[in-house]
Symmetry: C2
Subunit: 181 residues, 2 copies
């Protein structure tokens, strides 16, 4: 499960002068990598009642279904990032709505911001990271072929809040289920 030790770049764990915690430092050029948690942005994207899912064409979990989501990039907002990912992975144009969930995966130092969204056009097409993309009715969701636990969590949180959402009422975003941390 652990990556091999790199042979170039920051690879020595040490506490830099004047700091209070260990960082990865490059012994060749002295560069200090201020590694920090990464933000994943994604969406439950609806077309009518149906939900957009993407079958992964890249590791990890090739062939399994996931929400359109990926790492937030520099210079964009979290909402713009969620829309960009749906475009890149599924050729889908989204209107981003309220925040549905904030998941913490501290084991891999990841924070996931999952928005509720609507497709502004029914057209979808797989991008290079997807084998296939499809709009699923709730009863057709491939529960046993989902790529990650947080996909399952987000889908169920959406279902739990569906009446509030349809009534346009405010709701607090979900956090990790107790057994998910």
């Amino acid at each position: 499960m652990s990556d091999p030790v790199p042979t170039t770049g920051p690879r020595v764990v040490t506490v830099p002068p004047g700091e209070d915690r260990e960082r990865l430092v490059c012994p060749d050029c002295g560069y200090i990598a201020y590694d920090n948690p990464k933000i994943v942005v994604g969406s439950i994207a609806l077309s009518g009642d149906r939900i957009l899912l993407c079958r992964r064409a890249i590791p990890p979990r090739i062939g399994y279904w996931t929400l359109p989501a990926g790492f937030m990039e520099l210079g964009e907002t979290s909402q713009d990032g969620a829309a960009r990912e749906a475009w890149e992975e599924a050729g889908a144009r989204l209107a981003i709505g309220p925040l549905l969930a904030v998941y913490n995966i501290p084991r891999i130092s990841q924070v996931q911001l999952i928005y509720l969204a609507h497709l502004t056009s029914p057209e979808i097409a797989p991008g290079p990271e997807s084998q296939e993309v499809a709009l699923f009715a709730w009863d057709d969701i491939p529960w046993t072929d989902l790529a990650f636990p947080s996909v399952d969590w987000a889908l169920r949180e959406y279902e739990t809040r569906r009446e509030l959402i349809q009534a346009g009422r405010p709701f607090a975003p979900a956090t990790n289920p107790v057994d998910g941390l």
Copy 2:
């Protein structure tokens, strides 16, 4: 406002082989810095009706008042990070509650997660990054001496939601005010 060009470490902007966007690469050792947006975690921390603020002892904005907040670290959750920052900056022990705001500052690639929190003990004491810490009644908040626009935003969002919060009712976290992006 811009930093000087570094003379070691990743400092050449180029598109690495097989990628679709520019990254910072070190010309000495080939290390690619996958720089990504940073997460700031903080809180509106209440003791009764009063709100914890910290007078900054470090740049930027030395001497101005801010919420207890800082960069999320590896291996922690966003809630743990918000509690850690209040402990480090104000010697305050917090119980973290619902998410009050998610602010995007794309100009500096920052996402701020601001929680509502309660002090579990009234004791506070300035940490190394604070000149002074204090609990302010709403009418005593030093509005003209706040360090950052998002401190002002978060305080006003709290005030807007105070009745919902006191009634224990769910609310959607705030996003940037329209004129704040």
